[in-house]
């Protein structure tokens, strides 16, 4: 019985093919039951996202199982198996474990560290559980993968820093202000980008939101979208005095926010910092503005630079996460081998216990008048014999699993005691 993962992802297959193969939830349910019913795989979990389609399975013959599963998948989706085959990767045993951990921890994602993938893997696992295609091996594997993903998130900064311009603006604001709760935001101009940045700010608790725009209707529209207030363009000066963060994105050819204006405003603010996020090109905020004390001014290039630095940071953190995954894989391999022998140990115990209780019952029936002490003694005697007999084979099974030879020993024990297949 071998654990393997087979599939394709954003690195091995073009988007056109991934699109064709991606399966919706309803179909996924049907497909996974189908696969399981064929009996090629004892356990199976199927993950299907826009960036990956892969199956984790436990099978006697991984190669056969893989072929059977993807044949079915291709039939379902009406794709030629020949077109899919060259893009498939397969990892077995330890490598499959590593793959599962890396996927769940978002190290295998297109954007390393993106948070959605963990949820997607969890959904896929839950679905497979609902379809009853998850056994002890995949259960252990996925529970551990979720634990590792959590560990990676908490112990590395992999997902900590913003990797988009609009999030970088939020991150910067948090370096200036102690939290964004209740920070007032002013939008100057009503571009899409500034709307996005404003949304992120609102998500972090920024409030209230003001919008000024040359076109009054557009200002109102945007204000509605953000649950803010539209102000006439002439009130820009007044608004500047009361807000903390200003997002500018007008199409004006000349700066709309001049140094003199900001200087006057800053005087009244008594040291409260003012943060300009200038997304417009050409810029809306005069370059000299940032020479003023307590004024911070980031234009689009500055924000991109922050994003680049964050990406480098993320790559660095990913290195650390990989090392963490390596350690976890090594630890898990030992556990997985235990999982392999545990069902055999359980059924061995059950078998001997069944024999013991049946024989005991029969023996007791033959001496109906036996006193309680005799009954107890017989009970104790039979238990002792069973436990003594079990001791050696169980120890041997545990040892062999740790030495990596669990499979041949479980087969042997099953044959010897006529245990059949533990389920």
């Amino acid at each position: 019985m071998a654990l393997f993962v087979a599939g394709l992802n954003h690195r091995t297959a073009p988007v056109a093919l991934r699109e064709q193969l991606a399966v919706e939830e309803d179909k996924l349910r049907e497909l996974i039951r189908d696969v399981h019913a064929t009996g090629v795989a004892r356990e199976a979990v199927l993950i299907s996202t826009c960036n990956r389609v892969e199956v984790y399975a436990l099978a006697e013959a991984p190669g056969e199982a893989r072929a059977a599963i993807f044949r079915r998948l291709c039939q379902h989706r009406g794709v030629d198996l020949g077109a899919v085959e060259p893009h498939l990767y397969t990892h077995e045993e330890g490598e499959a474990v590593r793959h599962a951990f890396r996927v769940a921890a978002s190290l295998d994602s297109m954007m390393v560290g993106e948070p959605q993938i963990l949820g997607q893997v969890k959904d896929a696992f839950a679905l497979a559980q609902a379809c009853e295609t998850v056994g002890p091996t995949l259960h252990t594997l996925f529970s551990q993968a979720f634990a590792v993903a959590k560990k990676v998130r908490t112990e590395t900064d992999i997902a900590r820093h913003a990797v988009s311009v609009s999030f970088a603006a939020v991150e910067l604001a948090k370096k200036i202000f102690a939290g964004l709760q209740g920070r007032a935001v002013l939008l100057v101009g009503a571009g899409k980008m500034s709307e996005l940045a404003a949304k992120h700010l609102v998500d972090q608790g920024a409030f209230p939101i003001y919008v000024v725009n040359r076109t009054w209707a557009r200002a109102q529209e945007m204000a509605r979208a953000l649950s803010g207030t539209a102000l006439p363009f002439g009130e820009l000066d007044v608004a500047l005095g009361s807000v903390d963060i200003v997002v500018t994105s007008t199409g004006a050819p000349e700066p709309v926010i001049r140094r003199e204006l900001v200087q006057t405003v800053m005087h009244e603010r008594r040291g409260r910092p003012l943060f300009f996020i200038d997304i417009a090109v050409p810029r809306d905020v005069e370059a000299a503005v940032e020479t003023l004390a307590d004024v911070y001014c980031y234009d689009i290039d500055d924000l991109k630079q922050v994003v680049d630095a964050n990406l480098r940071e993320r790559a660095r953190e990913a290195q650390r996460a990989e090392a963490l995954v390596d350690r976890e894989v090594a630890k898990f391999a030992a556990r997985l081998r235990d999982v392999e022998v545990v069902p055999t140990i359980v059924s061995l115990r059950e078998r001997l216990e069944a024999i013991r209780s049946a024989e005991l019952k029969r023996a007791l029936a033959r001496v109906p008048g036996a006193p309680a002490e005799t009954r107890e003694a017989m009970e104790a005697l039979s238990s002792a014999i069973v436990n003594k007999i079990l001791h050696a084979p169980i120890t041997k099974l545990r040892e062999s699993s740790r030495a990596g030879a669990g499979r041949s020993w479980t087969t042997l024990v099953q044959e010897l005691f006529g245990l059949g297949r533990p389920s």
């Binding site: 112990e155 370096k175 200036i176 102690a178 040291g271 004390a293 911070y296 500055d302 630095a309």
Partner: protein, 270 residues
């Protein structure tokens, strides 16, 4: 035995300093955890040393400037651990611990003055209160200084739009400004009361306040700087970078004050 434990304290603080500085660059969580552990270990050992000192001499661990500074260091480390937790400021150690190590080095290098010499000047409880308050004040100003340095670095980073170790590790400007303000507000009353008691004590002990003592004179200068900063902050809207410069300046004078106590002859010196 006590001397050995004293070395343990110093080594633990030195290790914590190294680890804290490494954490600033390295950003490994484990490095920070080790730094916190070394700090805590040092502080516990330090506490034992101070308790042993009290038991041995039967008076507060404030006899002579080196001892007093050592106690101040103990307060600094305690405050630092509290602030670090309260403000979630893991980078704080990198800015406080170097000062801690320098002060500890000074405190342990200078051997305390002969006990009988101290004994003369140290009759009466008020002098202990004078020293204790001044030391708590100094401890708060060490954190005030660290907060100010962090503010200046973060402000420069944000103005220059550089994303480096400081950008990633230092807290936001408002929190840093608040920390600087609060530590000033905490330290100032202690320093003020401590100085007043010192003056009163000098009058009763020596009959005059005006005899020249280098430490006393310089501490008055430091007091004036801190008083001006506090007044400026409270009334005139002093804040941010300029307030941080004041904090650094004030601490510079405070260090000179202690230096004067260590190296120049006077009533505080040995």
């Amino acid at each position: 035995m006590l001397a050995l434990l004293g070395n343990v304290v110093l080594i633990a603080y030195a290790c914590a300093t190294g680890l804290s500085l490494a954490y600033l660059v390295q950003r490994e969580e484990i490095v920070h955890r080790l730094a916190s552990l070394a700090t805590l270990a040092g502080w516990i050992a330090h506490s034992i040393v101070l308790i042993a000192l009290v038991v041995e001499t039967g008076r507060p661990p404030l006899g002579g400037l080196p001892q007093a500074v050592s106690t101040a260091v103990w307060v600094v480390v305690l405050l630092m651990m509290l602030v670090e937790r309260q403000y979630k400021m893991p980078a704080l150690g990198a800015f406080v611990l170097p000062v801690v190590v320098i002060l500890s080095l000074k405190a342990s290098a200078a051997r305390p003055a002969a006990l009988e010499q101290i004994g003369l000047a140290f009759r009466g409880a008020w002098v202990w209160v004078h020293i204790a308050l001044a030391m708590i004040g100094i401890a708060a100003f060490v954190l005030n200084f660290a907060g100010a340095v962090m503010y200046l670095l973060q402000e420069r980073t944000l103005k220059a739009k550089r994303t480096g170790a400081f950008y990633y590790r230092l807290p936001d400007l408002q929190t840093l400004d608040r920390l600087t303000y609060r530590t000033l507000a905490l330290g100032f009353p202690f320093l003020t009361t401590g100085l007043i008691l010192g003056v009163v004590w000098a009058r009763t002990a020596w009959g005059s306040v005006l005899t020249f003592d280098p430490l006393a004179s310089l501490s008055f200068v430091a007091w004036v700087i801190y008083a001006a900063t506090l007044a400026g902050r409270a009334v005139a809207g002093l804040h941010g970078r300029r307030a941080a410069y004041f904090a650094v300046f004030g601490f510079g004078v405070l260090v000179l004050t202690l230096g004067a106590g260590f190296f120049l002859p006077g009533r505080h010196g040995t």
